[in-house]
């Protein structure tokens, strides 16, 4: 049996008529079951015409080949090559020597041609996962370009949500971070840039390592809220920011209960920022503003892994109600940091130097103050710092496109602070 704990960090005190309850929920898995749930890994690679540029398609094939080669025999896998349609290179099956050979020869036959319709690829991946054994369902999706405008991506993302996880990777510099971020967010995976195709192999092996580190296929957060309350948001905030609010599922018979998928878990710790709006109580009253239950499914039965309470208490003591819990403050800052970077880069792309400078200056100050060294380092590749105290910066005279995209893509990575 796995060992989970859930802990809430918050200041429960609200002023008279106060209605917003903020809390950071830390879920930790400190031990996993002896027999991990089995892995099925899908490789989905872009083979649209643009992949023919440089060594992209060759390097992508090499990276997938390397991934397949090191797959343990206990794993299952499949490969999809995608352009304006999806081509099943190898169907889902065990990672036997024979199947690996078949996959490698299938890879060789792939040519770069056609357009980009990610929804087709995901649709095909969904079919493969549906015919796979139950367990950890995870895919790596590689693309180098912008998705076709007519592609019904949102609809397919909604169909796939909760069924498998996707780590989205952009190779080269012609793809859109927003699009990949959306895929990763809806499908509970990571997002990253691999500007240089030569680095694809290392990146894919990193994804495999992470996938093999998971042991529990499905963990859900069940949130009970009082009548009249509304979930403003529930966001994963560490290790990176991902808004899972839209993934909520509600049984109409139990409108006070929402369920959020969180994907597969290994030994790890994640932080979530929960914001609720409740009907204010009277001064002196206490309220259970939310009950968080961490669940999994064991042999077809729901099993409770951990539980925590989010409280509210109304007070006329301003010294109490104005305090902000330091975890809540920290992650509020990290979310603002990510947003400032994304808005700053967008402004820079649009040629709005003033707005870009203001946003990235604010981002620099937030990154610096919160000790987010990695983001600070990425920011310094895009701006020159004039006054580190005030966050006064100047855009570099010539910004390397790869640096700007890396900053944008990795803007959601957060730092943890001591509890």
């Amino acid at each position: 049996m796995s060992d989970f704990s859930a802990q809430v960090f918050q200041n429960p005190y609200l002023p008279e008529n106060g209605e917003h309850v903020n809390a950071v929920l830390t879920i930790q898995c400190s031990a996993v079951q002896n027999r991990p749930d089995p892995l099925t890994l899908g490789a989905i690679i872009d083979c649209s015409g643009s992949m023919g540029e440089g060594r992209r398609i060759q390097q992508a094939k090499k990276a997938v080949a390397a991934l397949i080669e090191v797959l343990p025999e206990a794993a299952h896998f499949f490969v999809i090559a995608g352009n304006h349609e999806a081509q099943l290179v190898v169907p889902s099956g065990p990672a036997t020597a024979q199947n690996k050979v078949m996959a490698l020869s299938g890879l060789q036959a792939i040519n770069a041609t056609g357009g980009t319709a990610v929804s087709q690829w995901l649709h095909a991946a969904r079919a493969q996962f549906r015919s796979s054994r139950p367990g950890i369902h995870r895919a790596v999706l590689l693309t180098d370009g912008k998705n076709d405008n007519s592609d019904p991506l949102d609809q397919v993302l909604a169909e796939c949500a909760g069924q498998f996880q996707v780590d989205a990777r952009g190779v080269g510099l012609d793809w859109q971070p927003d699009q990949l971020r959306k895929i990763a967010e809806k499908l509970l995976g990571s997002v990253d840039i691999v500007a240089d195709p030569d680095h694809l192999q290392a990146d894919f092996l990193g994804i495999l390592k992470s996938a093999l580190g998971k042991a529990i296929a499905e963990v859900k957060i069940r949130l009970w809220t009082p009548q009249g309350a509304k979930v403003e948001f529930l966001k994963l905030v560490s290790p990176e920011i991902s808004d899972i609010t839209p993934l909520a599922r509600t049984d109409p018979a139990q409108p006070q209960i929402q369920e959020y998928p969180t994907g597969a878990w290994g030994k790890e710790t994640r932080d979530y920022h929960l914001c609720l709006r409740v009907k204010p109580g009277k001064v002196g009253q206490r309220m259970l503003a939310g009950r968080v239950t961490v669940l999994t499914v064991l042999n077809g039965q729901e099993a409770k892994l951990a539980e925590a309470q989010v409280l509210a208490e109304w007070t006329d003591d301003e010294a109490r109600s104005t305090l902000i819990n330091n975890q809540v403050a920290h992650y509020t800052g990290q979310a603002q940091l990510a947003q400032s970077i994304q808005e700053g880069i967008q402004a820079q792309r649009n040629g709005d130097v003033d707005l870009a400078t203001t946003k990235l200056g604010l981002a620099y100050k937030l990154a610096q103050d919160s000790g987010n060294e990695e983001t600070t380092r990425l920011l310094k590749k895009v701006v020159d710092v004039i006054d580190p105290e005030r966050g006064t910066v100047r855009l570099k005279s010539s910004i390397d496109h790869a640096d700007a995209m890396t900053l944008d893509t990795r803007s959601t990575r957060t730092r943890r602070i001591e509890k």
Binding site: T225, P226, Q227, G228, A229, V278, K279, G281, Q285, R286, M287, L288, A289, A308, Q309, A312
Partner: protein, 352 residues
């Protein structure tokens, strides 16, 4: 410096509560004499509790309303008087800002069950711990298939301990996890069985005297036993109210003391929290107070409720520094059944 009305410790002028025993040092402006407190008559504490926000009835021991999430406030005063010869009364008193005691009485077949709990003030949600403890113990009495008093009481204590341990404790707070005393009595016509943890007490009163049936799990008893001071003297010593055993508190369940007494003469069983016995530390004083209100045993036609009220009023008149709860039942040994031994009730055994 000001002096604590309960334990006489000297406390800094600015403090509101005694640092030794936790009693309130000032009388809150809202303090009212017991006569003015609205009474709720009920057979089941479940009926005492309703959500202050949406009005639905809540089970005793409820932490939050399952609909709107609001934490109910436990009543300042309530009584259970379904049977004239088996009653309970629980009152906030005067000095304490909240009522953190709970009491419940039940009857099934020929047996009566009395449960009383005093939430420890410096723990989290003490009133919740007290109500959960008494409700769980009473549920055990109503449901248990055990016949032997010892077994039934053990199970009732274990269920109370589990119910208190289930209350989520906030590790970030200075206060201890929820913690309370517990005393249970299982009464049949010829026998009283008591189980306890902490310093809530049971007395048996006959026409001649009052006898203490329990031995407090507190520093006070250690002082009396080991330092050879009288109970009245020990009460004045700082820290004498500290408990050596209790339920909850975030520690592993502790063993209750259990004592069984055969009843050979008619009398009155009294369970009470320290809100009462602080003002009657010697059994003779208690006997005098009860005797001044009624014959012992009281006439069969009389309800015991007036006596329960008289005891609460007495404690309030003496200062009412703490919550006061009492549970009373009349015991009349049946003549057709010969008692198992000739032994009459003596003071509590020195160890169990």
């Amino acid at each position: 410096m000001i002096q604590c009305p309960r334990c006489s410790a000297s406390c800094p002028d600015e403090s509101n509560y005694c640092e030794e025993c936790g009693a309130a040092l000032r009388q809150p402006a809202s303090a009212v004499a017991i006569e003015e407190v609205t009474k709720v008559v009920s057979a089941d504490p479940a009926d005492l509790l309703s959500c202050p926000n949406c009005g639905i009835k809540l089970e005793a021991g409820t932490e939050f309303c399952p609909d709107c999430g609001i934490a109910p406030t436990y009543p300042d005063n309530f009584q259970i008087a379904d049977w004239p010869d088996l009653v309970a009364l629980c009152d906030r008193g005067i000095g304490h800002p909240k009522n953190e005691d709970a009491v419940i009485v039940k009857r099934k077949d020929s047996r009566s069950f009395l449960a009383l709990s005093d939430g420890v003030s410096h723990s989290q949600r003490p009133e919740l711990a007290a109500h959960r403890a008494t409700s769980a113990a009473a549920a055990a009495f109503m449901e248990s298939s055990y016949r032997l008093p010892k077994d039934l009481l053990r199970e009732a204590v274990a269920r109370a301990q589990a119910a208190v341990a289930e209350i989520p404790a906030d590790p970030n707070l200075l206060e201890d996890p929820p913690c309370a005393t517990l005393i249970l009595a299982l009464v049949s016509p010829n026998e009283i069985a008591v189980a306890w943890l902490g310093d809530s007490r049971a007395y048996f009163l006959t026409s001649e005297c009052a006898r203490l049936l329990t031995r407090d799990h507190s520093i006070l008893v250690r002082l009396v036993n080991e330092a050879h001071v009288t109970a009245s003297e020990a009460l004045l010593l700082p820290g004498s109210h500290a408990l050596t055993r209790a339920i909850g508190g975030g520690v592993a369940p502790e063993e209750p003391d259990i004592a069984i007494y055969p009843v050979t003469e008619p009398g009155l069983l009294l369970l009470c929290s320290d809100g009462l016995w602080n003002y009657v530390p010697e059994s003779t004083t208690l006997y005098g107070v009860v005797r001044s209100h009624t014959l012992i045993p009281p006439p069969e036609s009389d309800s015991l409720l007036p006596l329960a009220e008289a005891l609460v009023k007495y404690a309030c008149a003496q200062g009412g520094a703490d919550n006061i709860s009492v549970a009373l039942t009349r015991i009349a040994p049946s003549n057709d059944q010969s008692p198992t031994t000739n032994q009459t009730i003596r003071e509590a055994p020195s160890s169990s």
